[in-house]
């Protein structure tokens, strides 16, 4: 399997591109920074177009209710209001969005606005369009809506009962079901020395909190019948594939543009329903631009949350040494009210089915349910973090139960460096990595042995200090073929990215990205790659910010998601740069009356140039671009194909998985994050305090270590926030309890520990540059913090069964532990007692 994945990079004739990397690997300052720190970034809400109108949504205050009356007449009559939209009207203008899932899921009628009933708090029921944002807000208050509440479905358990249905047309709340079974489960359990049964585990709902909320400007021009979008959607090709059939507009007529985006983390992929309504409003107002800039409360209530997952009936088989031989479990994923990227999450976790471990026999029964909560969207670490958290909990619970320390438990179970590339039971290929080596580095950074001594001394004083390890795989460059495991009619597979590199008329080197950067520094790393190919410096490479379909650098996979730019985006840019380099070489050989083999790429007195080593003659980029673009009489016909404007599409080397067996390679690269934490739980306030924190990352060859370290810091903050603070909790009526930052409490600098950072490089054999995508190690601290809390509190009878832990929840867990809650949670059998 592994060998089929090796990519062959064509050797270029150009001398410069075979020279060793000068810029790739350097921690150069980001090109974007100057613009962004000086306030020169251009975000959607900064744009003001002639005749632009503002849209404001009227949203449901109920989680589940029938709409019994909706009257927009008072709003429509307010001076400055141009039009209104209701769900019924929207329904008459569009087709429901396509559904990815098969069977029951196909029956969902997902309109971008509620029609007869609302299925989550914050769902839009009407919209008003006005000359100013203030008028729109005033008008929205005048829309009269009456509801008849229905019983809300709020947990996995309730949803499975099908007593109250979120979408009656589905006939069930079960959106998808499948069993992922590999190896020989029953045999493994029969032969086990220990079998550990674990009760209900729960991975909570949290989200990302990008500084910039969702925002869209839409113009539906009735003359050209084109829809132009300026948005911060981070996966515009996906959005267009949903919008085109819903709006009845050819996909080539939908233009997508982004410039600066203030963070996304996946959450902005599913803002397309709002993009649809904005287009309809533009059409209704005769093609005037419509701006929607989401408020923070709207973002919290009704953009997207991360997937919530509950794990039932877990059985773990282990041999006498504590090596896990089998895992059997039942998982229920809660995708909220509409499966808008789902049920892809029902397979994406399988990219990391065994986590970082060698377990061969795995059976996981997966259900996904719809509930009366905000629809989910991909959230950094999407669907894999839930699985990794589950596996890490198993490791810790089994380790504590059997008396094996948590570092030893991992060392006994980790996939070994020498086993790489490693094929998992479900056919995924871990490209490279040294998890034990990373753990050793993490332990060294944090001073593990010293802390062990301090911990033992502290325990004698009655203090609760825990040491935890979290092993996270950041699988990157996804194979969309896994969608066919969800629905074998799904017409997607593989992965691709496009890019364009050109010499413009005055000889400028210009790169058009086929990605949608949201703060990942793509302009910088792209410039580093191009600079190395052409033998120039990154500041001589102009990288256009943002994405624009008009630049024709997209494929159906275009977007920034799934930890892949360093592989897919840079491979496309590298390929385009090599093509350009070859064209320059051919052109320069003719212009200098020399031979290509004698040419060298360099920087001369007049900027970048090509020199003939033999004749010492040279021609600069302006001269070359001039010859092709505006001064081309006399050029030989053999050079007429030279345009100095080179597009390249990178294709990841994937096969369609075996859908029946649910087997195949689902991602190309596996970056890893091993985090180590020491946490003390205060005996009186029950508050967890992080005493020390180390993160070790390995994302293969790094393009820019500064950017990588920054992403690791950001991911770590996100994960610590998720583990200890951030929770999209609902009350029993379906009200989101965290609709402002006062209640959601995203992590602040005051909560962050100092981070110890370590870095290793296991080059990927599957990318031209040895790089692996990264940036989605977001949940690494969730596993790590839970592991440390488990270590701190196991002896007090607490099993950490939730990914979200606060002083309050720890206080209550300790109270439950006192009343015997532990025994029902974990049970051990010894079918074959070790001799």
């Amino acid at each position: 399997m592994a060998t089929t994945l090796r990519t062959k990079t064509k050797k270029t004739k150009a001398a410069a591109s075979s020279s060793p990397a000068k810029w790739v690997g350097q921690p150069i300052r980001r090109k974007e920074e100057d613009r962004l720190v000086r306030g020169k970034g251009i975000f959607v809400d900064d744009q003001k177009l002639m005749g632009m109108l503002h849209i404001r949504f009227v949203r449901s205050s109920y989680g589940h209710a029938k709409i019994t009356r909706l009257d927009v007449s008072k709003a429509a009559a307010l001076p400055g209001v141009v039009c209104t939209l209701t769900g019924a009207e929207v329904k008459s203008m569009v087709k429901p969005f396509i559904e990815i899932g098969p069977d029951a899921g196909q029956k969902i009628a997902d309109y971008p606005m509620a029609v007869d009933k609302v299925v989550f708090q914050g769902e839009p029921v009407a919209a008003v369009v006005a000359e100013t944002r203030l008028i729109a807000e005033d008008a929205a208050e005048l829309v009269e809506v009456e509801y008849e509440p229905l019983p809300p479905v709020l947990t996995a358990e309730e949803a499975l009962k099908d007593a109250s249905l979120v979408h009656p047309e589905m006939g069930t709340n079960r959106n998808w079901h499948g069993v992922f079974e590999y190896g020989n489960i029953e045999k493994a359990f029969q032969q086990a020395a220990h079998v550990v049964h674990i009760g209900r585990l729960h991975f909570h709902r949290f989200s990302s909190t990008p500084l910039e909320n969702n925002a869209v400007i839409a113009v539906w021009d009735s003359r050209s019948e084109r829809i132009e979008y300026w948005s911060n959607n981070s996966f515009p090709s996906f959005a267009a594939q949903f919008l085109s059939p819903a709006l009845g507009v050819g996909i080539d007529q939908i233009l997508m543009k982004s410039f600066d985006i203030g963070g996304g983390f996946g959450i902005k992929i599913t803002n397309y329903p709002y993009m649809a309504v904005c287009a309809l409003a533009s059409r209704k107002t005769g093609g005037r631009p419509i701006k929607w800039a989401e408020t923070r409360t709207e973002h919290m209530q009704a953009s997207a949350h991360g997937n919530e997952r509950t794990f039932f009936d877990t059985r773990v088989a282990l041999d006498k040494n504590g090596v896990i031989t089998a895992i059997d479990s039942r998982h229920v994923d809660d995708c909220g009210a509409y499966p808008r990227y789902e049920p892809l999450g029902c397979v994406i976790w399988a990219q990391v089915l065994p986590g970082a471990y060698r377990v061969k026999n795995v059976r996981i029964d997966v259900n996904q349910v719809v509930t009366n909560k905000c629809p989910v969207g991909p959230n950094r670490g999407y669907s894999r973090m839930q699985q990794l958290w589950f596996i890490e909990r198993i490791l810790d619970i089994c380790g504590h139960t059997l008396g094996v320390s948590n570092d030893e438990m991992r060392l006994r179970n980790y996939i070994r460096k020498e086993e790489m590339p490693y094929t998992t039971p479900n056919g995924c290929v871990y490209d490279s990595g040294d998890y034990a080596g990373m753990l050793a580095l993490g332990k060294k950074l944090i001073g593990w042995d010293d802390w062990k001594k301090k911990q033992a001394a502290a325990r004698k004083e009655g203090r609760w200090i825990g040491m935890g390890i979290g092993s996270t795989l950041d699988s990157g460059t996804n194979n969309f073929g896994q969608a066919q495991i969800i629905n074998n009619f799904a017409p997607f597979s593989g992965q691709s990215k496009a890019a364009n590199v050109k010499l413009d008329i005055y000889g400028e080197v210009v790169v058009s990205l086929g990605s949608v950067p949201q703060g990942q520094g793509h302009e910088t790393t792209a410039a580093q790659v191009v600079a190395d190919v052409l033998g120039i410096s990154p500041d001589l490479v102009k990288v256009k910010p943002g994405f624009d379909t008009e630049q024709n650098v997209y494929t159906g996979h275009t977007g920034t998601y799934a930890s892949q730019f360093a592989v897919t985006g840079l491979s496309a840019i590298h390929g385009a740069a090599v093509k350009l380099c070859n064209e320059i070489s051919r052109l320069a050989a003719w212009a200098l009356k020399g031979k290509e083999k004698d040419l060298e790429f360099a920087i001369g007195a007049q900027g970048p140039e090509v020199r003939d080593r033999r004749t010492k003659k040279s021609i600069n980029y302006w001269g070359l671009a001039n010859l092709v673009n505006v001064n081309n009489a006399g050029m030989p016909e053999t050079l007429w194909d030279v345009t100095l404007n080179c597009r390249h599409v990178y294709h990841a080397p994937f096969q369609v998985p075996d859908v029946k067996r649910k087997y195949g390679n689902l991602t190309l690269t596996y970056a890893a994050q091993i985090h180590v934490a020491v946490i003390e739980v205060d005996r009186e306030t029950f508050q967890p305090k992080i005493l020390a924190y180390a993160c070790v990352d390995d994302c293969g060859r790094t393009i820019n270590p500064r950017i990588v370290e920054g992403q690791v810091h950001g991911c770590t903050a996100h994960g610590i926030g998720a583990a200890l603070m951030e929770n999209c909790a609902y009350d029993s009526d379906g009200n989101l309890m965290a609709s402002t930052f006062s209640d959601y409490t995203p992590i602040t600098a005051m909560n962050m520990p100092d981070l110890l950072y370590g870095h290793m490089e296991s080059p990927s054999p599957f990318s031209y540059n040895g790089a692996k995508g990264m940036g989605e190690g977001g949940a690494a601290p969730v596993h790590t913090v839970c592991a440390a809390l488990q270590d701190a509190l196991y002896s007090s009878g607490v099993i950490i069964d939730d990914s979200h832990n606060t002083g309050d929840s720890i206080f209550r867990a300790l109270q439950r532990a006192g009343s015997g809650g532990f025994a029902s949670m974990v049970r051990v059998e010894h079918p074959r007692p070790s001799r």
């Binding site: 807000e137 305090k689 309890m737 602040t748 606060t806 002083g807």
Partner: protein, 300 residues
């Protein structure tokens, strides 16, 4: 996130502000730092028809060391108080001022505004109730002095008349052998605390507790004076046993509610722990030790 339309009026004196409140009617509001009012207006939970800006009234933000008192103008910003040399002998004020919300709020929010707002989770009420504090209030009938103990009536409700404003907060300097501490536990920088405890202890020559005040914040409709907890310490030797009894009494005195900050039971446990620690710090400070204290956060 746009407020309902309102008119804006800039008062040049407290007298003018009072007159404007009268003229502009029931729906007019005074704005000082705006750190509570503006978010409420943006969320349209507050819809004043007129705002009377008192930020341009001269000398209303001064902090003065006045013999046995420190006098804080109503517009003294939390950050001004944090940085003021005049509070050197009253460390509990520094504990409080230095951790209120985040830097932006501290730079803008005012002590007078915070007290007049009477949010059950405000930091100043608990802190100032442990000290001899009085408020100079100015209204249409002139000025009156209100003792801090009499100021709060209920959540968001004080004894201030509709056209009456806080002009000055007067704190009597504690005795030399007195020390205090304010501890508040917060989930993140920009939010109200989950629970807080303010303690001011005066020791006598034999190192026993001559007098003490213990006040709990965020666990009731107003800050709660834990009188039984005080009784457990007053005239007694402060040791592990009496501190534990005081903490238990504080737990009983709390009247918290379940919310996103925590369950009621948890908040009782939390304030008991904070009271215990605050007593310890207050005693050390009363003995002349320098001890850093203030707000604590999830995670560190």
């Amino acid at each position: 996130m746009y407020a309902h339309p309102f008119t804006y009026h800039r008062a040049q004196s407290l007298g003018e502000a009072t007159k404007l409140l009268h003229q502009l009617g029931e729906e007019s509001r005074v704005i000082a730092g705006g750190q509570s009012l503006i978010p409420l207006m943006k969320m349209r939970l507050a819809r004043p028809t007129a705002l009377i800006d008192i930020n341009f009234i001269p000398r209303l933000s001064e902090i003065k060391d006045h013999n046995s008192e420190v006098r804080f103008g109503a517009l003294a910003r939390h950050a001004d108080i944090e940085m003021s040399e005049h509070i050197a002998g009253i460390p509990i004020l520094h504990d409080c001022a230095s951790g209120i919300a985040d830097v932006q709020v501290r730079n803008q929010g005012t002590i007078g505004g915070s007290l007049a707002e009477a949010d059950p989770s405000g930091d100043w009420a608990a802190t100032l109730l442990t000290l001899e504090t009085s408020l100079v209030c100015a209204g249409p009938q002139g000025e009156r002095l209100v003792q801090m103990d009499d100021f709060f009536k209920d959540a968001y409700t004080t004894v201030l008349g509709r056209e009456e404003l806080v002009r000055e907060v007067v704190v009597t300097k504690p005795a030399k052998n007195s020390g205090g501490a304010y501890l508040a536990f917060k989930r993140s920088a920009c939010v109200y605390a989950t629970g807080s405890a303010a303690v001011q202890i005066t020791l006598d020559a034999k190192d026993t507790c001559k007098d003490v005040r213990i006040v709990l914040g965020c666990v009731g409709l107003t800050a709660i004076r834990a009188k039984q907890a005080e009784a457990e310490l007053r005239t007694k030797k402060i040791d592990e046993r009496t501190i534990a009894r005081a903490a238990d009494a504080a737990r009983e005195a709390a009247e918290p509610q379940n919310d996103m900050r925590g369950s009621a039971d948890y908040k009782r446990a939390l304030v008991a722990a904070l009271v215990k620690r605050a007593i310890g710090i207050a005693v050390r400070r009363a003995r002349g030790e320098h001890v850093e204290a203030g707000h604590e956060y999830v995670g560190r």
